[in-house]
Symmetry: C2
Subunit: 465 residues, 2 copies
């Protein structure tokens, strides 16, 4: 009886969190690194001081990533869980060009305005914000610990690397800081997606691999469009090769996201999903299926993915990777400028159709969309890839169920740049709120995080006393 009540409580706190914060705005320059454009605009940040010791409590600072900041505040339960113990102030800063932190209102993502959407500018926003929170002091009073997951984890790590005088340490969860050209094989990501599905069900991978051909074959048959729209509850029919490709892209993105958020509890982080979503969907593919039976199985997976909360009327497959809570259009621009992350599928070591990585065509597609060419070497030159031996006070955590772990740091680099590997963890599970379903190794990881944070705070206090 009690146990059930607790589970229900947790479900509520995850699906609709009761975390309380004030919403604040902070003025930043459009361009931190030049003076030709002197416009300013406001970024949003959320604050909770419930447990803060204003004399010497730390500031826990979430370096917001590609989405509105409330999403990350609501899903970074780890910061809320440990705020009282550390007497910390919580700050969640929204990344420029996401959420409501728009320099040019609803025209911000237009080609003539989007150019100041870069990670360097975002980090400089955060540095200015921390300086403001510290009262513009030469000797700032409060140790600041950066937290972030995924691209936010990269930003947390880069924040410490580029501004160590501003940030005492960083918890960089599921940060694929290796996933740049020439550093890891382009198929790493999809290999891990595949292995997560392989663990969840013995026939799952083979069925999904077979489904692409089945779908392509089926789509050439009479009435296939009608059958698919009805059976898969698609919003739009699938009438031609372009639309078949869009549907395939949507399915591929679905498997990627299911692997990313394969948490042991129900979560609505990216899309509303049940606990262990990969195991859940693989139940529909637990025997070798073919033809229409196979497509029916995939259709059931689509329903779990798009309508777990029962609120969706149809599957909007034309949204492609823009589906879910993140803001794909901003990120697509970042991937087309600074954050070049080569990805490919081989069909051999993964369950997808082969799709090679080709920087030239990637580059051309970016130019067609945004009139800019991606800088292939930018992140390597600016952020150093894995050459992090001069960095300090960073924890890189990665769950081995998470496809992004393919570009993560899995071995400690030094005594103060440490890797924490979570065997049964999906995408930054360690930043999620504590949950009765948590595997032991994520509890352990959170303990290691707390130990490191304690050390970094002590170092700061010692250096400033």
């Amino acid at each position: 009886m009690w146990e059930k009540a607790i589970v229900v409580l947790f479900l509520i706190s995850i699906v609709k969190s009761e975390y309380k914060y004030t919403t604040n705005w902070f003025k930043v320059p459009l361009d931190h690194f030049g003076f030709q454009r002197n416009e300013e605009f406001q970024i949003k940040y959320l604050v909770n001081e419930d447990h803060w010791d204003k004399n010497n409590g730390p500031i826990f600072f979430y370096t917001g990533n590609e989405g509105q900041i409330e999403l990350f505040a609501q899903h970074t339960g780890f910061m809320w869980d440990i705020a009282e113990e550390f007497k910390a102030k919580l700050v969640f800063a929204e990344h420029r060009y996401y959420g409501e932190s728009m320099p040019f209102g609803n025209k911000s993502l237009d080609n003539e305005h989007i150019g100041y959407l870069t990670s360097e500018q975002a980090l400089a926003d955060y540095a200015d914000l921390v300086d403001y929170l510290q009262g513009h002091e030469v000797n700032p009073k409060y140790p600041v610990i950066a937290f972030g997951g995924s691209y936010g984890g990269m930003l947390a790590a880069y924040f410490r690397m580029k501004y160590p005088h501003v940030v005492a340490g960083a918890i960089a969860a599921s940060a694929p800081v290796h996933m740049y050209p020439g550093m890891v094989p382009c198929e790493a990501y999809h290999r891990i997606v595949t292995s997560s599905f392989g663990i969840a069900g013995s026939k799952c991978v083979a069925n999904i691999r077979a489904s692409w051909g089945a779908l392509r074959n089926f789509s050439t048959t009479a009435n296939s469009s009608e059958w698919l729209q009805k059976n898969w509850k698609l919003c739009d029919p699938v009438r031609n090769a372009t639309e078949v490709q869009q549907l395939i892209d949507f399915l591929q993105s679905m498997y990627e996201i299911l692997a990313m958020v394969n948490y042991p509890f129900a979560s609505d982080f990216l899309v509303p999903l049940p606990a262990e979503p990969v195991r859940t969907v693989c139940q529909y593919l637990n025997e070798t299926l073919k033809g229409q039976a196979l497509l029916e199985g995939i259709g059931k997976i689509l329903q779990v993915y798009t309508n777990y909360n029962g609120r969706s009327k149809c599957v909007d497959y034309k949204k492609g990777s823009d589906y879910g809570n993140l803001d794909a259009s901003g990120w697509d621009y970042q991937a087309c400028t600074e954050m070049v992350m080569p990805m490919c599928t081989t069909g051999q070591n993964d369950m997808f159709e082969p799709r090679p990585w080709n920087f030239t065509s990637y580059s051309k597609a970016c130019y067609d969309k945004y009139k800019v060419y991606p800088k292939e070497g930018f992140a390597r030159i600016q952020y150093g890839g894995d050459k992090l031996d001069a960095a300090s006070n960073i924890v890189f955590s990665n769950g081995l169920l998470d496809p992004w772990a393919g570009g993560g740091i899995l071995n400690s680099i030094s005594s103060s740049v440490k890797a924490v590997v979570i065997l049964n963890g999906a995408h930054h599970l360690d930043l999620m709120p504590a949950n009765p379903s948590d595997p032991e190794n994520v509890k352990l990881a959170r303990g290691i995080h707390k130990d490191n944070i304690r050390t970094w705070i002590s170092e700061f206090v010692e250096a400033n006393s």
Copy 2:
């Protein structure tokens, strides 16, 4: 006989160096941190490979500062002196908006084009250039050691701090990384100028301090303008209060520069000057002088300063601090944007007329000139002031005769961020070519530099093997 010949030889090598290099150009983006402006332009860099071991010899990289790069190549003899011993390739990179590295040709310094003159953009230029010199490799082959003096020394240190994966270590000579608002007293610089003159002659400081009143008094008398123009060999007469102030500004700048380049040998680094220029000029003020006699003494100093090579027809006092080899207009813009360095004189602890520091009026003057307001906290937030405990592999060297030492790091911060103090050294004397007149402590400093460089190279080799 031999001794004399050697001295003459050295004089020649200092006055007109025989250092050989190729001149090269490298394309950089106008804006590294945004994509709204996608213009490119070329920066100049000089290369010497005479002693380079192409298999694993290091690259010694001078981070060019506010002037044309040949000036720094010719006067950074230390790099040339040790190139053979280290089998190093020498690279001297010109700072954007100086020399010939102009993004918009001769319109670059116009208000509508100058906005991309920032230290961050210059460092990103250098990082791209190093990446190119390394062949765009994920695992670069050659250890790179950064060298720089003065603002170039700040850049060398910041290069290591912001791009430790690009640069293995930095020799930052006479880099005033503390000279930002709130970090050191604003009178520090002029106190040291004064103490250098105090060491050189017992009456020197008192005479110079008295000369301001003498000049102001004299300038109100009949025929003073005629007398001054003739006796001081001024290009223009001094007819009113504004021109008196211009002349006083020129004199103050003269004393500052004499103190900066108070080398034990003749040098033409900033202006052509004899060995120990401060002692030389103080000879004209070796007894207590008053009125016209005092002004005659000052006039003789003006001659040494402006016409040591006998080529100047008159003293162009209206040039103010724009006199000499550096490019004052670019630097003035940088000081009006990012590099806010508060300076003041009190008339008590220094030999100048009192002039307080006032950020508000400074800021207004900047806006009037450039239509931008300086960012008072920028360098602190971006570069951390003295909060360098997370940095590594930097040597900060300072000569105690150098006014800029007032904003330098004089105590080691850690086992790998070290201070080297040169008792009898002027502005980055340690980077000048070895000279028989060198004091012992600069020889010692150069030995320490070499030891550190050796260590950094070993660390690089070990990390990459």
